[in-house]
């Protein structure tokens, strides 16, 4: 087992453990911090899989922006009786069953993928030794984003604009007397 695959298995185990802790902690702030650990480990897996740009976006956007936004909201809203509440609803065994059945379904689907797709191993990262830009590099992602994916890229910007306007409209205080 090489160092790279050992670090992959470490990150896989750590992300599963931190995800489990994130959905079971009682204090919302602790949950957020475990989700932060999960996102950083997933970014490490992205790095091992050769998606350097996506790993950077994961750290900057997910861990840096989205999760800090969640933490802001948790700390902004005073939740005095949150620790006294039960963590799970009474139906939590059904939720466990749903989660496990989803894992089982995905596992069955994983073994059902064609042999040409599922049997192989992920090839080693060649690094920048070869002449062409490595897959997942910033230049290749950028060329694809501004080439064949221009329309989805622009639509993503429209989605973000709609989200900004929607958030402002939702959170704005209504004029008194209306």
């Amino acid at each position: 087992m090489t160092v790279l695959s050992a670090s992959f298995y470490y990150m896989a185990a750590a992300s599963v453990v931190s995800a489990l802790l994130a959905v079971t902690r009682r204090d919302p702030v602790h949950s957020m911090l475990w989700v932060l650990v999960l996102f950083l480990h997933v970014a490490g897996i992205f790095l091992l899989l050769g998606a350097e740009f996506l790993a950077a976006v994961q750290v900057i956007v997910y861990a840096g922006a989205i999760l800090i936004f969640y933490l802001f909201v948790v700390m902004l809203l005073d939740l005095p009786d949150e620790r006294a509440r039960p963590r799970f609803g009474n139906h939590w065994p059904f939720a466990v069953g749903a989660g496990l059945s989803f894992v089982a379904l995905a596992w069955v689907g994983r073994s059902a993928v064609p042999a040409s797709l599922g049997a192989g191993t992920i090839p080693a990262i060649e690094g920048t030794a070869r002449g062409a830009a490595p897959m997942g590099s910033l230049s290749e992602i950028g060329m694809a984003l501004f080439g064949p994916f221009t329309l989805p890229f622009e639509i993503a910007s429209l989605v973000l604009l709609a989200a900004i306007i929607g958030a402002v409209v939702l959170v704005r205080k209504r004029a008194t007397g209306s």
Binding site: V35, F102, L117, I122, G136
Partner: protein, 101 residues
């Protein structure tokens, strides 16, 4: 690195199952939204695994769009949480029995 692609997909399946469990079992709106983020991250992981395996950067671009949609979802979802909290303090979904106030 010689990790089988099935390992990445299995890890993605496990993370998605944890997210489903968290979304269904938690009684706190913010933690339900965070469970959705865990599920989206699991999907990103499988997209990147396929992209690596098929030597095709399109999977990574799809994952990038998933991250953009997740950012929009977080903004709208937390805006709704703040608007709900202004009308009725508390984060439990069991308290939200009426849609009109």
């Amino acid at each position: 690195m010689m990790v089988p692609v099935g390992t990445v997909l299995g890890l993605s399946a496990i993370l998605f199952g944890i997210g489903v469990f968290g979304f269904l079992a938690r009684r706190n709106i913010i933690l339900m939204l965070v469970s959705i983020e865990v599920m989206l991250n699991a999907v990103n992981l499988s997209l990147v695994g396929f992209s690596r395996h098929l030597e095709d950067p399109r999977g990574q671009i799809l994952a990038l769009f998933v991250i953009a949609v997740a950012a929009a979802e977080a903004a709208i979802g937390l805006g709704l949480v703040i608007a709900l909290n202004r009308n009725r303090p508390g984060m439990g979904v069991a308290d939200l029995k009426e849609l009109k106030w």
